[in-house]
């Protein structure tokens, strides 16, 4: 590997020399974490706050997302899509899409990306097909109609197929590059070759990820010559590096540090809400949490607005439950999180016969923004209504999820991967969702609803089901409590013409640079 690095460096040098006339800037972006798993394959590396920042710069999905709007679906590698029936979607592919390996994208590449060598085969590491199944629980096959047309065929009716085609996990890779690179997953997981505006130059896990402009990008000539993502774990170091002009961008700025950057005239902090909610998941088998009223009381005891106004400088918000307006027709209007009402919380605890039993509250060390601070605020809020929660700081997920203890409540977050509740409440809290597979919570009615909703195509009926799910998971038998919607902030040199997308993605495509 070492030799390969040297080789790569020596190949790069002449190119840099030639590129002297190229006046495009080189941009360095300090991020907290480049990739949690040390790979670049979105089927393993699926962390919203790490890899989502750069994946779309390299790999694209058949259907795009409007990063300058509200993430609505827009033509991407497919220029149009239409329903053949309730389990088949046909894509018309964009002609003349040049991939990073210099070949033109065809239907073969699409089919390959969803095929056995890339997604569902036995030769892959076992987590890859399993994760792919989570993204595509019922995908049967991808049919090539002609070089520019493919059909996605599902085993059962599914109205979320278009959503899934625009979501992470559906990225298109170059078939020939994959095969030329040995065809094995391990080698290709660190050398993604796709269609995005930037192509991989080098990746050093936990240190840096360097991308070069893909000048034949179908969306136009990329505005940056070289993008360097560097991993700088310390918040202060990211900010200091930005202020001393080491970096042009610093991502993952905690809300409390916005003022630190903003007082310098040449810098600004952009960003805002993303489609991700901070939640607290309960283990309903914990003796003190068995009574749903105790879990509901925990929600009524939380003053989410106070947390948002202080720890988030008012730039996050308390959302209407585990849903986003982005859901469009599936959004349940009028739904809210349980209101902040300490008296009600106390009454509920009294009715439930809660005697002050200790409830473990497991927290990771600032895995989420301001996590430890938020946890301490919550513990105080719970204490004030008589709930005896005890913060347990944990180092990793297995410790958080360890059944011994016993486990009580824990920190978590949920994303809307595409514009349907199936992508969040069903995927995370339904029968196959992590909260059930790790044995924290289950509910028979919720499970029936989840299965029905996945194959039902009647929007009005689905919306009703979703409303009932919210009622179950947030009121009747709380699975979690929704704390606040997350926001992400990126600090940058003011002069650079970049806008913050409504997502974790740091979009440096031609669409998002300039006026």
């Amino acid at each position: 590997m070492k030799r390969r690095t040297f080789l790569a460096a020596s190949l790069v040098l002449p190119r840099v020399a030639i590129a002297q006339s190229d006046t495009r800037p080189t941009i360095t972006i300090a991020v907290q974490k480049i990739a949690n798993t040390g790979t670049l394959d979105p089927l393993r590396e699926q962390s919203s706050n790490a890899s989502e920042r750069w994946v779309a710069s390299i790999l694209e999905t058949p259907i795009g997302r409007n990063q300058r709007g509200k993430l609505e679906r827009v033509p991407g590698l497919a220029t149009a899509w239409k329903r053949i029936d309730d389990r088949t979607v046909e894509l018309a592919l964009r002609p003349n899409v040049m991939m990073h390996d210099g070949r033109t994208m065809t239907a073969e590449d699409i089919a390959f990306s969803f095929g056995p060598e890339r997604m569902f085969g036995d030769a892959l590491p076992k987590d890859i097909p399993a994760v792919a199944r989570r993204h595509w629980p019922a995908l049967e096959r991808v049919d090539i109609v002609d070089a520019q047309t493919v059909r996605f065929v599902n085993a059962r009716p599914d109205i979320t197929m278009e959503g899934r085609l625009s979501a992470g996990g559906s990225e298109i890779v170059s078939k020939s590059a994959w095969i030329d690179n040995g065809g094995a997953w391990a080698a290709n997981s660190k050398k993604p070759v796709g269609t995005g505006p930037y192509k991989l130059r080098s990746f050093e896990p936990d240190v840096s990820l360097v991308l070069d402009a893909h000048d034949d990008y179908w969306g136009g000539r990329p505005p940056i010559r070289t993008l360097r993502f560097v991993e700088v774990g310390e918040t202060a170091a990211r900010i200091d590096g930005l202020l001393s002009a080491r970096y042009e961008f610093a991502a993952d700025i905690p809300p409390d540090q916005i003022a630190t950057v903003a007082k310098h005239a040449k810098f600004q902090v952009l960003g805002g809400l993303v489609l991700n909610h901070r939640i607290i998941a309960h283990d309903k088998h914990h003796p003190a949490l068995a009574d749903p009223r105790v879990r509901l009381a925990m929600a009524h005891a939380v003053d989410g607005k106070a947390i948002v106004d202080s720890l988030w400088a008012g730039r996050a918000r308390v959302p209407p439950g585990l849903q986003w307006e982005f859901y469009g027709p599936m959004f349940v209007d009028g739904w809210t999180v349980p209101k902040y009402d300490p008296d009600l919380a106390q009454q509920l605890l009294k009715q439930a016969g809660y005697k002050g039993d200790r409830i473990a509250y497991r927290v990771r060390k600032d895995y989420y923004t301001a996590e430890v601070a938020t946890a301490q605020v919550l513990a105080e809020m719970w204490k004030s209504v008589g709930l005896n929660t005890e913060i347990e700081l944990k180092e990793n997920w297995p410790e958080v999820l360890d059944r011994a203890g016993p486990r009580g409540s824990r920190d978590w977050s949920n994303s809307a991967v595409f514009d349907d509740p199936v992508s969040s409440i069903v995927n995370q809290h339904g029968p196959e969702g992590a909260q059930q597979t790790n044995g924290e919570w289950t509910n028979a009615e919720m499970n029936d609803l989840s299965r029905a909703m996945e194959s039902n195509t009647d929007m009005a009926a689905r919306r009703k089901m979703f409303a009932r799910m919210l009622q179950i998971c947030e009121r009747d038998d709380p699975a979690y409590l929704v704390l606040h919607q997350n926001a992400t902030f990126t600090a940058k040199q003011k002069a650079l013409p970049w806008r913050a997308p409504p997502s974790f993605y740091l979009d440096f495509s031609p669409r998002n640079w300039g006026t």
């Binding site: 900010i239 905690p254 409390d256 540090q257 202080s310 601070a373 301490q376 700081l393």
Partner: protein, 288 residues
């Protein structure tokens, strides 16, 4: 311990006047001890009591209010109250760990010196093991297996630095054994335990005490380093290292959060070091 000091020091006392710096150091340490003992009476607020509307208030006199003399932290908690409790916790950790390390190390060192041979080699292996094992791994082990109870954390910190006492006590005991007085006592039939407790230990106590004054600040610092890595005293508990560790993000925005505990660390370790040097000069029989 103080009995030993006097026993060892008495014959050598020549000057009784304290150098002013040492006097100041003693005053500082005594007041730190007093704060630690009276922490619950002194602190104006509970250390977890927070006020989200009064976050990041500067200290009184720098734009802050008199009700929060040293300002408030990122959750609107009173920095003074947290500092007071932190002093108690950190002193407890440092004292506890120093005593554990000294007792453990000295015992092992004396055992090695007494038995020599295999026992000695085993102790030496343990010493090498301790030096070769990054403390990060040890801390992680204790945290992962036993959780973050304070007594366990103190015991963990006691593991830091015991090998120094072991080295010193072993070396000194070997040379003491070779010297006349231990042999003389042995000849009149005293049991080994009595020889070590009654004769060898008092003679090497001075050196050990000085070693303790060295490891005390190191433990305070180690605790802050562990806090930086997230392996120190865990919230909602607090300590000097924990305050500095969590306050570092606010170095430019609200420096008072970490300035007060940092200054306390520096001044306390300075005081302990001054006292240690002075004790060494006074107790070490070889110094004129």
């Amino acid at each position: 311990m103080s009995g030993l000091v006097i026993a060892a020091a008495e014959p050598r006392v020549r000057r009784t006047r304290l150098p002013p710096l040492v006097a100041i150091a003693i005053v500082w340490l005594v007041s730190m001890l007093a704060i630690a003992v009276l922490a619950d009476q002194l602190r104006p607020y509970s250390i977890t009591a927070l006020d989200l509307r009064a976050r990041l208030l500067p200290p009184f006199g720098f734009g802050g209010v008199v009700t929060h003399l040293l300002g408030t932290d990122e959750l609107g908690r009173d920095v003074l109250s947290r500092l007071i409790i932190s002093i108690r916790i950190s002193l407890l950790i440092a004292f506890g760990a120093t005593v554990i390390g000294a007792v453990l190390g000295t015992t092992l060192g004396l055992l090695a010196a007494h038995f020599r041979g295999l026992v000695e080699q085993l102790v030496l292996v343990l010493i090498d093991f301790q030096a070769s094992m990054p403390f990060l791994i040890l801390a992680l082990a204790v945290l992962a297996f036993f959780g973050n109870a304070l007594p366990l954390f103190i015991a963990l910190m006691g593991l830091y630095g015991w090998e120094r006492y072991a080295r010193i006590s072993r070396g000194l005991a070997i040379s003491a054994n070779a010297q006349g007085y231990a042999a003389a006592v042995r000849q009149i039939g005293a049991r080994p335990l009595r020889i070590y407790l009654g004769h060898v230990l008092p003679n090497i106590a001075a050196t050990l005490i000085v070693a303790a004054t060295l490891s005390f600040p190191e433990i305070v610092l180690l605790e802050s380093g562990l806090s930086f890595l997230g392996l120190g005293v865990q919230p909602p508990m607090t300590s000097l290292g924990n305050m500095v560790g969590y306050g570092r993000e606010y170095l430019t925005r609200a420096p008072w959060i970490l300035l007060a505990p940092s200054a306390t660390i520096v001044l306390t370790t300075l005081a302990v070091s001054l006292l240690g040097d002075w004790l060494r000069d006074r107790l070490d029989p070889t110094l004129g």
